[in-house]
Amino acid sequence: MAVKRQISMVLDLNKCIGCQTCTSACKLMWTNRNGREYMYWNNVETKPGAGYPRDYEKMGGGFDKDGALKLSKQPTLEDYGIPWEYNYEEALMTGTDPWLRPNVKPTWGANWDEDQGDGEYPNSYYFYLPRLCNHCANPACLAACSRNAIYKRQEDGIVLVDQERCRGYRYCVNACPYKKVYFNEEISKSEKCIFCYPRIEKGLATACARQCVGRIRWIGYRDDEDGPIHTLVEKYKVALPLHPEWGTQPNVFYVPPLSSSKFGPNGEELDEPRIPLAYLESLFGERVSEVLDTIKKERKAKNEGRESELMDTLIGFKHAEMFKLS
């Protein structure tokens, strides 16, 4: 879908420490009230892992090779995790309840499988994957909406749900393979990440990016050749979309994670990364190996005191250079 400009985000998974500050920033700003309590427009999940909602990668949605919409499982509230509150007042203030406990029995939730990962010691591994709406160039949610209630803004390509037009059919929830559109039961309408457009319109970065303590996020326009997105996606080609095979053409990109070497049976270091290449390729496509080689080469250059524009960009010295919104 052609738009005049497309805003975009790159996230460097080598720098994410899984602190959930982005998640909290987003939740406090947009989703801690009014039927959105169960929603995480931004979440950070541990990979390998079930993700949020649980097993969304196996649900379906997106497009097939011919460009036709694919059906998906409709996620349940249990798949997302039933939100709970604690009895702070009774347990900590009035002392009428000896236990601090949640008001529902939690059985699943976003980040339930945090840090579990995969593999056997000493070769166990995991990494963090922050996720938000990809503001796709070919949004499945938009294609699935029979009311044209979902649109892509011409000025920045942000994908929004027109709350006046939405009648809560939930085709969009089903169609988005990333499960980044959510149904609000209180208002019977669907809602999603709005890429903090009120902030973007003022030249400010999204809350998740601005609050990121690991400085893993860059924001800019795809066509800005002086901006960080162009440097990372087009010039050095080190940022890749998540699950490109789903056909939605995301505008959120990830720098895949390098990992330390695997250990052999006698404790020797093997020439093989701890995170299996095949697993990373299953997430980010066939270019992962090439990207990791580029990062290793540029890291080496920086280590040896040589210039590396790529490393200088990925370090993220100044917010003003990480967020180029004009």
Partner: protein, 287 residues
């Protein structure tokens, strides 16, 4: 007596022979000679509720008055898919029978619907869909208007949409073609529903009455004083994920003849006689 026994025996036989589920229940209704089958493009005449009859509520779905109003049966088949999302969920085998009655008092039009539904879905949740039903009217009174929700803004339809997730909630909508459903600023439809449990799953059914004052302003409110009004029905089965175009509908228009015999010709005697007849029947049945 012998006749009645044979009908009962026949019904029992039918029930035992028929396939389980919705089909057998509808088959038992099929033998009811008082329910006339209506096809698209047929005409039905509005029933009359005389002013002398007291209605506790104008929209009581089980008021005894409905036993005195002609009842019709029509088949709703699955709506043809007009969008990839509805096409993905299209199942041609999901048709259903709808029983309907239409009557007017001196100031209200009442529409009563009944349909079999073995699952009561009254929630609109993250993964749960509600039961719903609707009647649509061609606003210009012409059958040239598409029965698939109207033909653009020049030839729209007025839709009364009942949703099971809110008691008494009937939305007053207009549309000019699929995908254009719009909630009207003036919400003037009353409604009341009852889910009848019955002893067997096949006895479970929705009863619904929707009502509106005959006189109503608004560009997109159907003019109920028109002599002939094309209308059609839709039913959404929540258990099958029904919403939007995933519905069972009248594949065409049914025509409503709104004239009451005697009213137009100024022949009040006939109307009075009808009033008296119905009042007498009502009082007998009350005894």
């Amino acid at each position: 007596m012998a006749m009645r026994c044979s009908i009962k025996c026949a019904m029992a036989l039918c029930a035992s022979l028929a396939l389980p589920g919705i089909a057998s229940a509808e088959f038992s209704e099929f033998v009811n000679p008082n329910i006339q089958e209506i096809q698209p493009w047929d005409t039905v005449k509005v029933g009359r509720v005389p002013d002398s009859i007291y209605l506790r509520d104008i929209d009581d779905p089980d008021d005894i008055i409905w036993d005195r109003i002609p009842s019709y049966r029509t088949y709703l088949s699955v709506a043809p898919p007009v969008h990839p999302s509805t096409k993905l969920r299209f199942n041609a085998d999901q048709g259903t029978e709808l029983y309907f009655q239409i009557a007017r008092t001196s100031d209200h039009l009442l529409v009563r619907l009944r349909w079999k539904d073995t699952t009561q879905n009254v929630g609109t949740t993250i993964d749960g869909f509600r039961d719903a039903a609707a009647i649509q009217f061609a606003l210009d009174g012409s059958t040239d208007t598409s029965y698939m929700m109207g033909s653009g803004p020049e030839h729209p339809v007025n839709i009364w949409y009942w949703r099971s997730d809110h008691e008494f909630r009937v939305e007053d909508l207009a549309a000019g073609g699929y995908g254009s459903t719009t909630r009207l600023s003036d919400q003037s439809i009353m409604g009341h529903s009852a889910y009848i449990e019955g002893e067997e799953p096949v006895d479970k059914e929705w009863h619904l009455v929707m009502a509106r004052e005959i006189d109503s302003d608004g560009e997109h409110q159907i003019d109920l004083n028109k002599e002939q009004i094309p209308f059609g029905f839709a039913v959404w089965q929540g258990d099958d994920g029904g919403r939007d175009g995933n519905k069972r509908v009248t594949q065409g228009w049914i025509l409503l003849d709104t004239s009451i015999e005697g009213d137009d010709q100024g022949d009040q005697k006939q109307a009075q006689k009808q009033d008296q007849d119905q009042a007498s029947t009502q009082s007998q049945s009350a005894k």
